[in-house]
């Protein structure tokens, strides 16, 4: 029963997964371009923003049309309304990646090869993982995975605290590099925001399963 509707819901999951993967790719790419000081990766990340905007619109349109045609209730209503909220978070993550890319492009074009602290790489990896897992939790209706994602946020926060400490020391010791260090702090803050959005997504995944809003 409700074959068409079910097929559309599966399609919606696929689209969200694809968008999640794209955001994770964008974060990876921009981090790589930052550490290697290359402009191409940064430019590509900025370009990905358009793709992600398109993905966001597609998912929103599908949700609207499902609401209109199927008048979902219960689990179906939660699945679709969660998707509409999640897609906004995903799009914000894309924005953050693009913001990082802009800074990284400036650095690359200045010709410097900055000394990127390990914490930034770790934060980027964690945040990317959180995004993917949060989406997976939604698709699989897996509350435990979603809660694990929420817990990972503390790890990212800790990394950010450490990063800040390192960079503050750097500014203190090498005043001529303070400009770059401030850039890196801002990037760290962006990554920390990415993790926060991943937490939001995980919360919507939990809502989808239990009906409870955190």
């Amino acid at each position: 029963m409700r074959k068409t509707f079910d097929a559309e819901l599966v399609e919606l999951s696929h689209e969200l997964t694809a968008m999640g993967t794209t955001t994770q790719d964008a974060i990876d790419l921009v981090t790589a371009s930052l550490t290697q000081g290359k402009a191409e990766g940064a430019k590509a990340t900025i370009a990905m923003r358009n793709t992600m905007d398109q993905m966001e619109r597609d998912i929103e349109n599908r949700c609207m049309s499902l609401l209109m045609r199927q008048q979902p209730v219960a689990r179906d209503l939660r699945t679709i309304s969660a998707a509409m909220k999640m897609v906004t978070d995903l799009q914000r993550i894309g924005d953050q990646a693009a913001n990082i890319a802009e800074i990284s492009l400036l650095i690359a074009e200045s010709g410097d090869k900055p000394d990127v602290p390990q914490e930034i790489v770790a934060m980027s990896r964690q945040a990317g993982l959180m995004v993917r897992q949060a989406i997976a939790a939604y698709v699989d209706r897996d509350e435990n995975t979603a809660r694990a994602v929420i817990n990972l946020d503390d790890v990212v926060d800790d990394l950010f605290v450490q990063l800040k400490k390192i960079l503050v020391e750097r500014i203190a010791s090498r005043a001529d590099h303070s400009d770059r260090s401030v850039d890196l702090i801002i990037i760290g803050k962006y990554l920390e925001r990415v993790a926060d959005h991943a937490v939001n997504i995980a919360n919507w995944a939990i809502f989808c399963v239990t009906g409870e809003i955190q």
């Binding site: 409700r2 509707f5 008048q71 209730v73 219960a74 689990r75 939660r78 009906g211």
Partner: protein, 251 residues
């Protein structure tokens, strides 16, 4: 929550068929309670039991209680006429009597002994206004009720039920035979009526249940599976069977 009507361990058999199984349900005052469920789940039987309309069926056997204002309606000293005066019923198909609009509305009051012409006039007008159809028929009260459209006929039936000044109004799929415009008129009317009456409806239309009801009860195979605030039931149902039914994945 003040339940004006409630059932306690209500069981009903049609011959060998156990049609209602241990139903415990409270229907709060001035709220709309919607009964939903697939065909043959017992929701209409349940509704009819509240008005003792099942008494017409010879093979019926009933156990348990239906309490109207704490009075068990199956007590031997309870007069069915008394019950039906306080618990009115509107049926699935509009069933105005083949008489004038006025006589239709006056039927109930006359049955209960009101003969005074002026008093009857007042009741007729008040009831027709209550059912939001006064303006449409005030100039042709002497015309046959059968000359009206289906939607108007159904509102005449509602007015006819209101004319005996009941407490509770039972509606058995009262809009299923009507077009969307008449349906929405009656839905608006239900929202208006619940200020003064307690309403119990049976509906096959989920959207209708979500639009008009405050509480919702899901029946399946003669059992009451789940009863809750409508918003809760339609967003986070507790029972898997409820979820499957309301999302259309039943069976």
């Amino acid at each position: 929550m003040n339940a004006i009507l409630k059932t306690e361990n209500l069981n009903l058999w049609y011959g060998q068929n156990h049609a209602l199984k241990d139903i415990n349900l409270e229907m709060p005052q001035n709220q709309v309670t919607a009964l939903i469920g697939p065909s043959g789940c017992g929701k209409s039987t349940f509704l009819k039991t509240l008005d003792r309309m099942n008494d017409l069926v010879p093979t019926v056997k009933i156990e348990g209680k239906v309490l109207y204002r704490d009075q068990n309606i199956f007590d031997p000293q309870v007069d069915v006429t008394w019950l039906r005066r306080h618990v009115g019923m509107v049926f699935q198909k509009p069933n105005p009597f083949p008489m004038s609009i006025y006589d239709n509305i006056a039927y109930g009051p006359r049955t209960h002994g009101i003969r005074n012409k002026k008093q009857l006039d007042e009741i007729v007008e008040k009831s027709l206004r209550g059912a939001a159809i006064w303006d449409e028929v005030k100039d042709r009260l002497k015309k046959s009720a059968l000359s009206l459209s289906g939607g108007q006929q159904q509102r005449i039936c509602i007015a006819r039920a209101l004319a005996v000044e009941p407490d509770v109004l039972l509606m058995d799929e009262a809009t299923s035979a009507l077009d969307p415009i008449s349906t929405s008129k009656i839905e608006d009317l239900i929202a208006e009526l619940k200020k003064s009456y307690t309403i119990v409806i049976v509906t096959h239309n989920m959207q209708q249940a979500t639009r008009v009801s405050d509480r919702c009860a899901f029946f399946l195979h003669g059992e009451l599976v789940e009863a809750d605030d409508t918003e809760k039931l339609f967003s986070v149902p507790k029972d898997k069977r409820t979820e499957d039914y309301i999302t259309g994945r039943f069976g």
